[in-house]
Symmetry: C2
């Protein structure tokens, strides 16, 4: 592919597959290779669209769909279990030019929640739909529906059973004001993507199964526009992963954009300010991926690891799991 | 009551009962008096708490509870109807000191959703609960539950029937990319409160029945932390009302706080920038009430009217419905 002319924005795509207590000790070379293979598949799917002149919106949709279809991540197939042994999925998508957005919360039968979030954005006059109503809309839109059991994996069922064993020792779920590590291990694998296309448009997308053993219709940060997902061509596009309650209260995605827009911070500095300086000291574990309006790509996470990959035009793809990038 | 010493923050409370197409022509002196009486009751309930040395959190809770219990407003009793002829209620509350927050979406049987939002904040490790799960939590918390019919009013049923008559002429709900006026008339009466107490703590609360004839489990801005509700002692407390989808996409409450915090805008200027300059031109109808960290009180709305009232220590209470304040 030819070098872009000055009139064209160099394209870029960043993806994540969740942040948390990912240590070398807990991994095997085989597992590492599996994660990297699926991250590469998602990165390729999205980047190919950008390279072919497609939109950042299509790129983040395609990348997140691949990660939803992978059983390794806590989104779509492989989503964590609720306390009641089901899967309730959340997703959001946003485009930076007109700030249109779509989000869904608590859907149980939609194979790819990111496609539903996009349908909400493009084919309804709402931004956020939830529960059975959202599933009804999915049906009307002709999206692929599956039985809730489609999302099952043994790995996540084991995690549920471990979580419930811990919870049974506590008087009430409300008593679990968990230590960050505890939460992080239940919470791993939210997926997301941010991209900039040739026209300079930004987009962000996030999808998750939420928190293992979640109850009471809990909604985390992923489908909350401004918390887990935000895109604004005046500043940047952000997708987050982590302990969602902190990310909602601190408006992580929108706050990073606000620091860029109003305080003149670089996207990297803004991300570090929020993730490292603001959230880390109070136990708000997690991370973000960011692309700013000029195409600068960054990430920041305050956990042992974050599954991640990026591809900037003219540069080799970069993958990472632990603190250091893999290549 | 004595003038506060320098060590004490002058107290203040602002409330709203929704923004929209409220014209003199559509009102009678009797209706005006009813609205003002219930606004006064809510203002008194909240201000009395502040005056007695209570917290801003208690003040906004009490004020919003009065407005929920009034049949005049679209929150609690008097909430609008969904497309299916039910009521689905949303609420959120946030405190500015530790930025803890609670929110609920789509609850049908909780008499005072604001009390449930507060219980989520104080007695769960989550920020946002939804649907039946949220109702289960309400039950466990011992909150007052009611039959969904408790929320019925003839006024709102008439509005549903009018809305459905319009909708039946359209091929699909998705086709209703409504003109702002159209929406505003379906959407009137979200309630909210912001307060600052003697210790300088800010709090914000918002409660709503959402949009008349809403479908598909639609969630508006009221329960979205950062969109319809936000409080941060470093900047300000905001409660919003209006066309929720715009308020989510533009992160209205958090953006006003960000402009104060990062761009050095006054709370009033920040509110006007967002409501008048950003939202009005694109049809994002609605308004906000704001108190900043120094106790400065303001409101801004781009509609014909907004039900509102404020009481700042040492000053007479101010009420308003139309563009001009009433007294």
């Amino acid at each position: 592919m030819a070098t872009p002319t000055n009139a064209q924005q160099p394209i870029a795509l960043v993806i994540h597959g969740g942040a948390g207590t990912i240590t070398k000790a807990s991994m095997t070379p085989e597992k590492e290779a599996q994660y990297q293979a699926d991250l590469a598949k998602a990165l390729d799917a999205g980047y190919h669209i950008l390279e072919s002149g497609g939109t950042s919106l299509d790129a983040v949709t395609a990348a997140v769909k691949v990660l939803e279809d992978s059983p390794l991540f806590n989104a779509g197939k492989g989503a964590v279990y609720t306390f009641d042994g089901e899967h309730e999925l959340d997703a959001a998508i946003m485009r930076g030019d007109d700030k249109s957005a779509g989000a869904v919360a608590g859907v149980k039968t939609v194979k790819n929640p990111i496609l539903l979030a996009r349908a909400v954005m493009e084919h309804s006059d709402h931004v956020m739909l939830s529960g059975r109503g959202a599933e009804q809309f999915a049906k009307e839109q002709g999206l692929e529906l599956v039985d809730n059991r489609y999302f099952d994996t043994q790995f996540r069922l084991d995690a549920l059973n471990k979580a419930k064993a811990v919870m049974q020792k506590l008087p009430h779920q409300a008593a679990i004001r968990l230590s960050p590590k505890f939460h992080a291990s239940w919470n791993m694998g939210t997926v997301g993507a941010v991209a900039i296309d040739r026209t300079g448009n930004l987009a962000a997308a996030t999808s998750t199964g939420g928190m293992t053993a979640k109850r009471y219709g809990r909604i985390g940060d992923s489908p909350i526009i401004g918390a887990g997902t935000y895109a604004d061509n005046q500043s940047c596009a952000v997708s987050a992963t982590g302990h969602g309650e902190f990310f909602i209260r601190y408006q992580v995605a929108a706050d990073i954009c606000a620091r860029v827009k109003y305080a003149g911070a670089s996207a990297k500095d803004a991300a570090d300010q929020v993730i490292q300086q603001q959230l880390k000291p109070i136990g708000g574990t997690g991370g973000v991926i960011v692309i700013d309006r000029l195409g600068n790509v960054s990430w920041s996470f305050n956990t042992e690891g974050m599954y991640r990959a990026k591809k900037v035009e003219g540069q080799p793809a970069v993958f990472g799991i632990y603190q250091e990038n893999m290549r």
